[in-house]
């Protein structure tokens, strides 16, 4: 029996379940990458992961997941190491099914801010910036965004649109020329969100185990839409938890049977 999942684990496992086999996912480091590696290990063996530093289809060493997308750990076992421009241009060419990013601040249209808190001309906080996130949401077909659910992060309107979601709604997104991609899901430790097709606004689709819709609303700085049928997500399985922890810590050997070299690198 595994110990209780942490909020980050809940979020990561919920994210991993969204990734379908045979697809290509451009994953940011941290939870999006962990979710992608987990999916590949558990239910999507032909999922191709690509990383901003150039690695295409890497097999990470458990316990040595990369901290940055461009380091040796991220390149381990990759089929190809592309130049960074090329790596992004595959996205622009339409070769990637999913773009999977984290976020500092997000608003009801799924717009993401990783640049400035406050007025950009006189900011309260300067954040690390876009990196590849803006490029990912502009070009990968389906966009998944994962972040810890805090009221200060879920705001009516982001202070600065680093990576556009629906801007002010689907029409404004199309008018802006963002026709190659679309935001599909936001995954947090409290819930799973889709986007309302007509308004482009965040919509509660499912709740993390034991979380109430009310709690989600209280933790959100804007009015949330909700699906007709808000379901509860199945709790992480022991297998999911054991695999995730093994990937992260390199200890325990994972839930699946080891099979030579393949077992060490996933």
């Amino acid at each position: 029996m595994s110990s209780e999942p942490t909020p980050t684990e809940l979020m990561t496992i919920a994210g991993s379940r969204l990734l379908r086999d045979g697809r290509v996912v451009f994953a940011g480091v941290g939870s999006p990458l962990e979710a992608s590696v987990l999916a590949k290990r558990l239910h999507a063996p032909s999922l191709t992961i690509v990383l901003e530093g150039g690695a295409i289809d890497p097999s990470m060493l458990p316990g040595r997941l990369p901290v940055s997308t461009n380091e040796m750990r991220a390149a381990h076992g990759a089929s190809m190491l592309a130049g960074i421009n090329d790596l992004f241009l595959y996205a622009q060419r339409g070769c990637y099914d999913y773009g999977f990013i984290g976020a500092g601040q997000i608003d009801r249209f799924g717009n993401v801010n990783t640049s400035y808190i406050g007025d950009p001309d006189s900011p309260k906080v300067r954040l690390p910036g876009s990196g590849g996130a803006n490029d990912i949401v502009s070009s990968c077909r389906e966009i998944f965004i994962m972040l810890k659910h805090e009221t200060r992060r879920f705001v009516e309107r982001v202070d600065f649109v680093t990576s556009p979601g629906y801007l002010d709604g689907p029409e404004s997104r199309e008018r802006a020329g963002l026709v190659r991609s679309r935001p599909v899901a936001v995954i947090t430790d409290l819930a799973l969100f889709g986007f309302d097709e007509e308004s482009g606004r965040l919509r509660i689709d499912a709740l993390q185990p034991g979380v109430s819709e009310e709690h989600v609303r209280e933790s959100t700085g804007f009015e949330l839409l909700a699906s007709d049928t808000v379901v509860s997500l199945p709790a992480p399985t022991d297998q999911e938890l054991a695999e995730l922890r093994w990937l992260r810590d390199g200890e325990g050997g994972g839930a699946l049977p080891a099979c030579g070299r393949k077992a060490a690198a996933v």
Binding site: G54, E71, H76, N85, P120, V125, R126, S139, V161, T162
Partner: protein
């Protein structure tokens, strides 16, 4: 002359090729294959008024700001990594004066170098559309002359100087890397002056034996310096892993003392060390060999 038969020089001489006020762009990416020895040498040489550019910028950003060497940064992301949080000194400088930082997305930054490397004044991209980044940047929307599709044109970035660290080079400047190339090729072709540091200088005969591995041709390179561990404490693919303990110590100093922490780092590793060799000495052979062992593990695992 870029076709000179021997462009080998020293770190000190290489630094004299950079002039105050230059736009300097560093190769590698974040803490991978950073031309660290060359960067420290610019700090040691008290270069000033530089614009420092890089696709993803590590804490060289803070060293250059704190030293007064750079007065402007161009990048898409600044930090060490999630584990070390938001870089505090970078924050302080930009929050005081946002105009010192020009923020692009990763690809649009790369396309600026690509444009320059292709001899074009601009390139189109599908990035930046609809974002607030676009509003603050010298980029502009344009339409495809054939399809009328809305795109963003980014202007070529022609750095005065490119600093690039590689695995192998010959004295003419032909350079080869192992692992990812990052944006080094685009950068080498884009810049007016290209300085290469290499883990090892090899004979041209040796280099030619693997000529389909050459990334950067001599004809765009101006100076070559042999610097083993020249990216340390950053990583060099297959040679040594990044020294996270060194990053931790840096981050701790900065978290405790802000810009004073950066100054202390500079005093120790740039001024007191006296040279990059002195810096490596202070790091110690066992730490260097440890990082080498970890890199070997990753290559062979």
């Amino acid at each position: 002359m870029r076709t000179a038969a021997d462009k080998q020089t020293t770190l000190g001489e290489a630094a004299t090729l950079v002039r105050d006020g230059d736009t300097v762009v560093a190769g590698g990416c974040c803490y991978s294959r950073t031309p660290w020895a060359l960067l420290l040498e610019l700090l040691r040489a008290e270069r000033s008024d530089l614009t420092l550019g890089r696709n993803l910028m590590c804490y060289e950003s803070e060293l250059f700001l704190a030293r007064g060497a750079a007065t402007k940064l161009i990048s898409s992301w600044v930090g060490i990594g999630l584990r070390w949080g938001i870089p505090r000194v970078f924050r302080d400088f930009v929050e005081r004066d946002p105009s010192i930082y020009e923020e692009w997305s990763h690809l649009s930054f790369g396309m600026r170098l690509s444009a320059a490397s292709m001899g074009l004044p601009f390139l189109p991209t599908a990035s930046l559309l609809g974002s607030d980044l676009l509003k603050r940047l010298p980029a502009r929307e344009m339409r495809c002359p054939f399809t009328d599709e809305l795109l963003v044109a980014v202007p070529a970035l022609v750095p005065d100087v490119a600093l690039i660290h590689v695995h192998r080079a010959d004295v003419r400047g032909n350079a080869q890397v192992e692992g990812p190339a990052y944006m080094d090729l685009e950068l080498a072709r884009a810049a007016k002056l290209v300085i290469v540091s290499a883990e090892e200088i090899v004979s041209s005969e040796e280099l030619v034996r693997h000529n389909d591995r050459t990334l950067i041709p001599a004809l765009v390179v101006d100076a070559v310096v042999e610097v083993p561990y020249g990216a340390y404490p950053h990583e060099c693919h297959g040679r040594y892993e990044a020294d996270f303990a060194h990053f931790d110590a840096y981050a701790e100093r900065v978290n405790e003392a802000g810009v004073e922490g950066v100054q202390a780092y500079l005093r120790e590793h740039v001024d007191d060390a006296g040279s990059f060799a002195g810096f490596l000495d202070s790091v110690g052979a066992s730490a260097l060999l440890d990082q080498r062992r970890k890199a070997r593990e990753l290559v062979s695992a």
